[in-house]
Symmetry: C2
Subunit: 345 residues, 2 copies
């Protein structure tokens, strides 16, 4: 007997997104006809899961953030033309955040937008990158400077992809999970304190629980604030300084925003009466998940990058500060004051 | 005493577009603060109307369809970064269809979309290119293959720009006006029969009348069919074959679609009982407006381009045919049948 698999639905004003948790990859072919499908993945995922791609037209891009750029988009567009992709073509991006960001962007601009879906294969993509409709590419040192907002038709979570996920990528992903706990979910913060990456790696049940909870957190924030005028900004906790560090160092996204979160905690202490003791708790949790809490970086260069940040509005910057663990706010801070605190970190 | 200028409003489900007809260019600065403004224009318009750009940050691109490509977008993005454009920046594209298409696309992807408006300076842009929210760029020989749908905040019509419009561009623009008459407006068809390009060039009143009528036609079609599932397809009359010819020849857009319209008339005769006598009337009107009705072109190459057409859906192509002058329909036609008729033209 075939059990019909029902998705969880998240409804935006203009679109609903179906999310299939804990299912097998092969479900895709019951959703989209094979002839219309084009997969986009990267060399790593393709090599590790070759059998999953057999019989489907597949565009394979080079792995890593440094290929999340216009040249890769150009190459995807050229391949779509060669594959005779038309307006009925359905793109599925299978990979980490780089693949889903770039596949979503390419699908959104090819023929002014064709349908697409994602199969996130890393923790980071599962709990963060593939949720919320943001997609895009980097331009030089400026992350996500070019892109659009456009939601996928569906997301498919097949946790067997995590069996081949490198340890570093587990660490990377937990940075965003800890971020969600800090800004929205004190209870999850405690749950994380009682676990570890190794515990999660050995329990599909625990990973399914934590992924679903994080997807819920992120979707609810995004749904409450589609125009990104309020609550959604909270998701940038740790990211203003984090992104700038990521761009001037060789640090991974997760590690850079881990340092960004600690910097944001210090700024929260300075301008939002955030408790030093809570900063300590966050620092301990990040350390438990093998994330760095300090790092020597080029302050002058990092500051210049920060000035180009998308969140800058005239002479002020909207900064995300914590009120307490599990609750965050947006506070405008003058560039002058931020520079002073930034230099003292 | 200052008279407040009220726009005509066209309301889409997600957005309203303000259209200011027959106003002075300087109105822009009453709508957007100078510091937030960035103009995008091309070398021709910039040289001819330098005084209009003084004191405003301006990005000047090379003129012509052959620069409507990703390299030009890359260059605009780089200049926006250098000009410290942020999310409050407001872009105004001032020029013909190439400028408005590319400025709209760049604004739609910079920081995932910033606000923009258009000042169309050619007949073609005034009555067609800048209306309907489509923007984008060409990829090699494929016109408008990459882009998004996104409406400007406002359109501003200052007819003094037409004083410097070359005759060839007047001819180009009237191809789209005649197209609107063919698919939607028999009365305007008669009005055009009684006029000529020279008559329009010498009467601001007549040009204001015809432009406004065409803007109304196009906006109403687009508003009736935002998802482009029906009526909006009619606007492609003459464009399926026209675009393919444009790409394989050195013909301008207007001239190519003029030939495309005659080809579409013949196809309408073959599959839609369209009268030969009406084809003759259309052919005469196009000739009166100095547009070509025949042309020797590379049929093999043109056919190959046509196969990549965005409107292709599997083995059929949705073709726009005329019922009679002033009324059109969409008819699916098999590629096989189309090829046969195409070869006999």
């Amino acid at each position: 007997m075939i059990k019909k698999i029902l998705p969880q639905q998240y409804k935006f004003s203009e679109k609903k997104v179906d999310v299939f948790f804990d299912v097998d990859f092969s479900l895709i072919e019951t959703k989209v006809s094979k002839e219309k499908l084009i997969f986009i993945t990267d060399e790593n995922i393709y090599a590790l899961h070759k059998e999953k791609f057999s019989g489907i037209k597949t565009i394979v891009i080079k792995p890593g953030e440094k290929f999340k750029n216009q040249q890769t988009v150009n190459s995807i567009i050229d391949q779509l033309i060669n594959l005779h992709a038309d307006r009925q073509t359905f793109i599925v991006g299978i990979g980490g955040g780089v693949v889903t960001d770039i596949a979503g962007f390419a699908a959104s601009i090819y023929m002014r937008g064709i349908k697409f879906a994602f199969v996130p294969t890393s923790i980071l993509a599962m709990v963060d990158a593939c949720i919320g409709g943001k997609n895009g590419i980097d331009v030089g040192v400026y992350k996500n400077l070019v892109g659009v907002i456009n939601h996928p038709e569906f997301l498919l979570y097949d946790y067997t992809f995590l069996e081949t996920l490198p340890d570093d990528e587990w660490i990377n992903g937990f940075a965003e999970i800890i971020k969600h706990a800090c800004i929205k979910d004190k209870e999850m913060f405690h749950f994380l304190e009682q676990h570890s990456i190794m515990k999660f790696q050995s329990s599909l049940k625990d990973i399914a629980t934590i992924v679903k909870r994080n997807v819920d957190i992120k979707y609810n924030v995004v749904l409450n604030d589609e125009q990104e005028t309020g609550e959604r900004k909270l998701l940038n906790f740790g990211h203003t300084i984090g992104h700038a560090i990521e761009n001037t160092s060789k640090l991974s996204h997760g590690k850079a925003i881990s340092i960004g979160m600690i910097a944001a905690c210090h700024i929260s202490e300075a301008i939002n009466n955030f408790h030093k003791a809570e900063t300590k708790k966050i620092s301990d949790l990040l350390t438990k998940y093998e994330l760095p809490v300090s790092f020597s970086f080029d302050k002058q260069k990092t500051w210049e990058i920060l000035l180009h940040d998308k969140k800058k509005s005239g002479d002020n910057i909207n900064f995300i500060v914590l009120d307490k663990i599990g609750s965050a706010s947006v506070k405008p801070i003058s560039l002058h004051q931020l520079h002073k605190i930034f230099n003292s970190i």
